[in-house]
Amino acid sequence: MERHLMDSKIKGVSTGTTILAVTFNGGVIIGSDSRASIGGYYVSSKTINKLIQVHDRIFCCIAGSLADAQAVTKAAKFQISFHSIQMESPPLVKAAASVLKELCYNNKEELQAGFITAGWDRKKGPQVYTVALGGMLLSQPFTIGGSGSTYIYGYADAKYKPDMSKEECLQFATNALALAMGRDNVSGGVAHLVVITEEGVEHVVIPGDKLPKFHDE
């Protein structure tokens, strides 16, 4: 899997980060840490929100340059909401991911941001899409991203099961975030989780000291 670029001194504030999205039976959980850093030495924010809501049941998590990611998600949010009004129906998760992908691909020279788009729609239910740095769009049952993701590939590959229950999935996502935040110096803060189902959207915030502890801690 492609490794997202770590923070770059040229780009200024960036999100050395850990992001993930996991589908379960009836919904999807999208999660991230909350640390923003400059140059890998200074934590510029301990509580930034990397989970952007682009529509009622569709969220994006951002990795890479914070400025680029915010600009892209703002443009994407506008395009998706306009598209949804024209269609007179909620947008497909695939459509939202495609909008992001077009923005990333057409501006790939200038941008340094990658995304995970996850949500629920009537047609295909819960879905997760990765939009990588250069504009690649890939649909997966679950995905992890950001600099912290490199430390949890083993855990994620071993522990993911298709068709989990909501509680199992929450546990999986929380553990994965905790492990990554524990080892990656540019990931940390609180764990933000959003549970998206047909019924609605539920935010769960787990402060750093309430995260699951593993041996050594």
């Binding site: 269609m87 007179e88 947008p91 695939k94 459509a95 495609s98 909008v99 769009l137």
Partner: protein, 255 residues
Amino acid sequence: MSSIGTGYDLSASTFSPDGRVFQVEYAMKAVENSSTAIGIRCKDGVVFGVEKLVLSKLYEQGSNKRIFNVDRHVGMAVAGLLADARSLSEVAREEASNFRSNYGHNIPLKYLSERVAMYVHAYTLYSAVRPFGCSFIFGSYDQDDGPQLYMVDPSGISFGYWGCAIGKAKQAAKTEIEKLQMKDMTCRELVKEVAKIIYIVHDEVKDKAFELELSWVGEVTNGKHELVPKDIRVEAEKYAKDSLEEEDDSDEDNM
């Protein structure tokens, strides 16, 4: 024949005192001069039938198509000025293609017909251009949304239908369509009925020879819009001709 505009009909940018835009109405007349096209939506697909009048024995059979593919899952039957219709089919194709490029999935038919209708409507606003002299029937089949049928006319409105007809015999065709229980029929049954309706509304006296163009999109074609295969078309035409003969015979008995 019908009312003349006398001065208020010179450009599309002029209303008449009784609130009509005559250029648009004249455009609709152009559609009424063309031969009939019908589209019917059934429970698992959409079938189009077009009465193509053969003006010369030298025409190659199967050319001069009046049913176009707009996208894999969308078909379009036209009536009116064919040149206008062909250029608009390109517009529709671009809309469908751009939609897929931006949003990653098939264009929903309602949206496509609204976009084409908006384009057609734009040409009814200015004196520098003339309105398009053609109507279209769009049909598509999608696994989740099912079959859809929309019609766009020269004024730039689009409506959804279970069955519609455009062209010279549209009234007669509509009467026949209304007799059908299309919501309960499958495409295979409907193909024969569509052929029959075209044969019924075709005027033997005025128009002589014609070629029947049939196309469908639905579960039977796996969501792909294509011309009806030759053997099914031949069977449908036979059914149509036989029904007509039966009706002729029964008419004679009643008299």
